[in-house]
Symmetry: C2
Subunit: 493 residues, 2 copies
């Protein structure tokens, strides 16, 4: 075309604005996508093992649902809106929990045990090096409906435990607290009732900040009386300061100091029931009652829990640390880095469905920190020298010969067709006359263990060479035996 | 709370705007989600069998990429934009092909065989009853890179053939044409060169409109000379009017009438090669060379193909028809209804990557009409009386006893834990004292075949009842044998 160079200039100028992904998002190449899929497959297997179903909801929701007062509080500003192109106003989903509540309310579901793996969107300041993106996966399990006291709650913890045992990221603990117990403690410490929420958000920082800093914030910034703050200290540092106490003893100690507070009594009693069930499930040694766990989210009404990796299975030092942190690049406010031990969290939230619909249903569930888990799995595999393949291709059908040899496409296709029919993952070179060396190298790079090699000579004699890629051993077999011999080699027959 | 009734009024008023999904989108309940997943799994299995990898790209792209001149032509107006919230401008992806070209251009991939299953977004007039939604899945296979003539192209057709054989929706044909051949035909018929595009878009309607209507449009609306239109008729109705001709004969006939046109010669020769490879792949009897196939998309440069169901496997009359159509509700302009036979399409598009980047790479691929396939599979299963379960739960651990019986939660949990450990999908009632009848009914409704029933008597004696849900046969077994006996029943040991 005669405007070719103009066109080229225009394309080059456009490249800068077109050939990139939106800020805070990224592409995932095949090998990384496979690692991620394997992690998701583990979670889904356990969800399904417990009878959970899955469903599908739109990636955008009514804007009025997501931006409803108190739905996400200050984080409302992080919601992506769709442009008003005439009609209704929409926003990209911010999590998978509000869409669940919307679905339950719309369909008036009295009982719904579901998992959901999908992307959510937050216009947060991206921190790519630490894996914080604006588009990321969530992988949630929730049970909506009535259940005996702590029954669905303890099954959540059983599922979390099973998932992290299988993920093999290291030793872990599921830290547990109870919103009612926490309220009781705040009452006993005479924290003013209108300060509960803000005090909880300070307490929530205790796993990243020392008590002295949190105390200063409570007293100076939030104007909590010093006596209240010091009384609180006695409760919420109980787990950290008395590591020798069993979970039951922690609860007993709180109860002893409760001055007969009804909320403490209720919270302790419910957690005692939970511990009993965790014992029946065989997971109690990885449960840690911890009165300092507050969980930022306002909507929790009962038990709350947070899974932390306490000892990595692939690094020498304590909890898993972020790559940047190790390199000394950890900055102040790098909340995620110092807290990378937290890999899943959840709790009971009985009021959410009612807050958006005439229908009411109690809920309990958890969300895996799946993006964080992806990164830990990658680092573990790196530490172990494991490299993910792009594909599962089992067999490569190669062609060889001198310069003037025929392409043998028809013969290669016929062999591939036989192998595909036997459900054997097979590739062959699309080039007319590929070099044998290139085909061998492709197999080595791609982790393909078995080659079928044909040349004019083999075709004439009705045979093929069956080659082991790593040992380079070859044997000649009749072309009619290809499927049988390959299945044998793959250990599938 | 004292503002309870105010709150209730407010919630009720909000419900109308919050408790719904955006226009043209929908939720998919668990059973339907499972049907859809099974279809996707079949496609993915075949893609992987041929060595294709997958990847992940963001759901929104740079607006400049999607709204680039000539990217989507008139359909640009159907693109969803994200609101400008400060920063760059984004739009929801419209298909999976442009993101592929962007990825290939950014990463300068010389070779990339990938599949991608993901949602795309089109602000089209929704037609819910016909399954046309604004958010829908695509399920694409594409090969980017050099290949011997028709090599990657014929493998695409092999994969399509394998998928539709396994989907079992009925008899099908892959209609094939070639863009260069079509251009040659237009040249020979003396259609003005600047009218090729608009003539093709008229020809593309031939599977839904009779020739007379298309002819009128060409002559009256598009001002094509009558002689040109009639000459064209002789070529493009060749397949419809000479069903007795083999594919090779169709090509020969076109060649005979080509007056030595170079494009026709090239197109015919390439399609002859394609037919040869289709024979090697064993799929040639389901290939139909059809000069009337034009495919709307402008970017095709070589072979184009479209898979149609010619005889449904589950309905008596001809091609699969839409539910509404059968009820006589088919309206004028109901393009999809009359064309529901088309279930996949694709072709070679060698210029796309170059059009957006300095990098160049030839491409060939296809997109399954996966939403249409979902609906056909559902209707087939309905016709066959198959009902999809919500879960794969295998065993239900039930409790029975008199009114004053204990909940036996600990015992139920212990049994479930054993079964879960053996990878047996197991549920139990979350209620404290569920009625046995309700538990039995739940199993029947959910398709659970096996029950373990315990009561105080069984617990005292260290046994459980193993019950076959459909035959209602029960046997008593030691509680320690639960896993072994259940695995036996499930045929897994």
């Amino acid at each position: 075309m005669d405007s070719g160079s103009d066109e080229a200039t225009r394309v080059a100028a456009q490249e800068d604005t077109m050939l990139k992904v939106p800020k805070g998002t990224r592409d995932y190449a095949p090998a990384e996508t496979r690692v991620r899929q394997k992690v998701i497959d583990i979670a889904v297997k356990h969800y399904q093992r417990h009878g959970a179903v899955t469903y599908d909801t739109p990636v955008f929701e009514m804007r009025s649902l997501l931006q409803k007062e108190d739905q996400y509080g200050e984080e409302t500003k992080l919601i992506y809106n769709l442009e008003d192109q005439g009609g209704e106003e929409y926003s990209l989903r911010y999590d998978l929990t509000v869409p669940l509540a919307r679905y339950v309310g719309m369909n008036k579901l009295g009982e719904f045990k579901r998992y959901h793996v999908a992307k959510v969107y937050r216009r947060d300041q991206p921190a790519m090096a630490r894996g914080r993106y604006r588009e990321f996966y969530q992988c949630d399990f929730d049970y909506v409906g009535q259940s005996g006291l702590m029954i669905a709650d303890s099954e959540c913890m059983k599922i979390m435990d099973d998932i992290f045992l299988e993920l093999d990221l290291g030793e872990f603990l599921n830290k547990v607290n109870h919103k009612v117990l926490l309220n009781g403690i705040l009452e006993v410490c005479q924290v003013p009732a209108d300060k509960f929420k803000t005090v909880c958000s300070s307490i929530d920082k205790l796993d990243k900040q020392p008590w002295a800093e949190v105390r200063e914030e409570l007293v100076k910034v939030k104007s909590i009386p010093e006596e209240a703050v010091d009384a609180l200290h006695g409760f919420i540092t109980l787990r950290a300061e008395r590591p020798e106490l069993s979970n039951a003893q922690i609860l007993d100690t709180i109860l002893e100091r409760s001055s007969g507070n009804a909320n403490i009594a209720k919270g302790v009693s419910e957690l005692q029931t939970l511990l009993e069930y965790c014992t029946a499930y065989g997971i109690s040694e990885r449960i840690s009652i911890d009165p300092s766990l507050a969980r930022g989210l306002d909507y929790y009404t009962g038990v709350i829990f947070e899974m932390v990796i306490t000892k990595s299975s692939f690094e020498n030092a304590g909890p898993a640390e972020d790559g940047n942190a190790k390199k000394g690049k950890n900055k102040k406010g790098d909340k995620e880095d110092s807290n990378v031990g937290s890999v899943a969290a959840g709790g009971r939230y009985d009021g959410l469905v009612k807050s958006i619909s005439k229908f009411d249903a109690p809920c309990v569930g958890f969300s895996l920190g799946i993006e964080r888990i992806f990164r830990l799995v990658q680092r573990r595999d790196e530490a172990r020298g494991l490299k993910e393949r792009d594909t599962d291709t089992e067999v490569y059908v190669a062609v060889s010969g001198r310069k003037e040899f025929k392409d043998l496409f028809l013969q290669r296709m016929a062999i591939c067709t036989k192998l595909w029919s036997a459900d054997i993952k097979t590739e062959y070179a699309y080039k007319q006359k590929p070099k044998l060396l290139n085909q061998l190298q492709y197999c080595e790079q791609s982790g393909i263990t078995t080659m079928i090699i044909i040349g004019e000579d083999e075709v004439a004699r009705g045979v093929v060479k069956l080659r082991d890629v790593s040992s380079r051993a070859e044997e000649e077999i009749p072309v009619d035996d290809v499927v049988t011999k390959v299945l044998e080699r793959l250990g599938r027959k």
